[in-house]
Amino acid sequence: MSFLRDEKIRGILYQLITIVAFAMLALYIAHNTAQNIEARGIKTGFDFLNNSSGFDITESPIHYTTKSTHWDVYKVGLINTLIVSFFGIVLTSILGLIIGVARLSSNWIISRLAATYIETFRNIPVLLQILFWYNVVLAAMPSVRHSYSFFNSIFINQRGIFVPKPIFLDGSIYIAISIVVAIIIGWFIRIWAKKRLEETGKEFPLFLTNLALLIILPLITYYATGKPINFDYPVLKGFNFEGGKTYTPEFLALLFALTIYTATFIAEAIRSGIEAVNKGQKEAAQALGLSKMQALKLVILPQAIRVAIPPIISQYLNLIKNSSLAAAIGYPELVTVFAGTSLNVTGQALEIMAITMGTYLVISIIVSLVLNWFNHKMKIKER
């Protein structure tokens, strides 16, 4: 047994024992679970995914009826999760950035307001916030018959926000093309403006020009091709508004709560990022004659973002996972419809929970892979 005296071999041996022990335990648990399920006569397997669900989902981005299968339920839930997560991430990034910068403002009121906002909303559990905003929406909005109406085409009431829905007719493809063209032209203008800045030192109002381009070009195309987009207006019929596009109170409350909550953490990440930037950088920017805004945009933020990206990634992941709290207010995302109603209809908790957990895992891993790649790209290139 002299080989046991070798520290290296012993180390490997320990690790092997740990792995084998862990594998045995996992196998044992799996086996035991399977046996118990068998003994109790609970149905297992994934066949239920092909059975028709028998229930309805109100907010479905894809075609869905009671005849659709549980697999369709899964898809509807997943897409709804992704929708709310996507809008949540975009909005929370914008809000977080603004609050984070405001937190460090030299204006006392603005910085205090930002601090109060952060301290309030990051210290209240997000589930309570979701319920709170949901009840606020329901309590504050008028009933269907007394809706707030804007231009007779946008309506706001307890049942949500009703807006006209565009219907794309033949020829609307040209509008899409014109948007792409506008972006490409904008790109060239940017290159030209940068070159001119370097050569002459003259600034060009790039943002405004490109914005105008993005609006005017498609607008011209719209009229030139004979208005190929129709609008389906919401109309009050019987109990409710029909037609148009509806944003339900469940969706809005969830999106709002997730955004408000997560933005506090993003703001803190941005603030710590900004504070990590050497003071000398700011002074150097001033010495070069950059305005405060320019210094922030060109010198401080690019460096601050680098520091802030890793914590921001975790916050994005948190937002995606927190969207599952929608079950409390009935927004039909993955946990509500699939791990909720489908689970109850079929009773196959193990399979459904495994699929749901796997799904969140995959989404989170994809998001963190993409953002880690971005993080890597943004790192200071040390040569």
Binding site: A39, G54, F55, T66, F239, A327, T341, L343, N344, G347
Partner: protein, 336 residues
Amino acid sequence: MKRLMKLSAAVAMVATLATAGTLDDVKKAGVLKCGVSTGLPGFAEADSKGTWRGLDVDYCRALAAAVLGDASKVKYVPLTAKERFTALQSGEIDVLSRNTTWTETRDTTLGINFAGVNYYDGQGFMVAKSLGVKSAKDLNGATVCIQAGTTTEMNLADYFKTNGMKYKAITFDQNSQVDDAFFAGRCDVLTTDQSGLYAKRTKAKDPSKYVILPDIISKEPLGPSVRQGDDQWFNIAKWVLNAVITAEEKGVTSKNVDDMAKTSKDPEVQRLLSKDGTMCKNVGLEPGCFANAIKQVGNYGEMFERNVGINTPLKIKRGLNALWNKGGILYSPPFR
């Protein structure tokens, strides 16, 4: 390695214990773990002092009285519609008494057995009076609040489809969320079992502003259920329920049960309450088990009137839930 063997042996023991007889488990624990609703007036609700009351709760108490001799030895586990079957399957509770509809799929694929029916219900609709709706057929285009994971959800889909009507469903996990949303005006209609509608209406600020439509769109036999594969416990759950129904039929109440045991000439009453306890021994319980349940909790009629009857805020008539010989369909197989 030895430590691991010990560990897995311990895990194995725990696992085997969990699959042993439920009756032994309950006796050993000295308490019956009963899954109930998270709060449905008349069926299962904790009052201001934390005491659970209701028709479903009374079934738990009767079972505890029969098995343990004491109706108060119940641990109530409030469950949402979503959690209930998993809780029963996993052994977290011994019996599920949570206004649960007995359906084919549930009975055959969930690993549970229904012990009978303690309330015959049907799905109905509640709307605000101001809408002026007279029948469920007028509900085309309505927004409907429902609780997730219930037969209600499927019945609703079937009913609207059959009648060629459209609707929007808003589905909540928690019962209380359904009520809050409906009373806040999020939905035009609240749908659930009719007994539930009566119960929910008592929660409204002004109950007279809401009407329950006459239409019943489904059969909802509600009853307690137990885990599949433990026939002894299944028998106990079944026959305790039958005992309280038979007691009502024979006029045995919580007040006269002792006298009846001594004086009744009816052979079935004697068998039900007898001291030698053949019937109780048949299901594996101590003599006097059914008498205990009736004495401490009452017969079915007493349970009904106390919790949901005409003198309670719910004001539900016996209707289908009257005995078979009084115009209802409540019927217990004989104690013989």
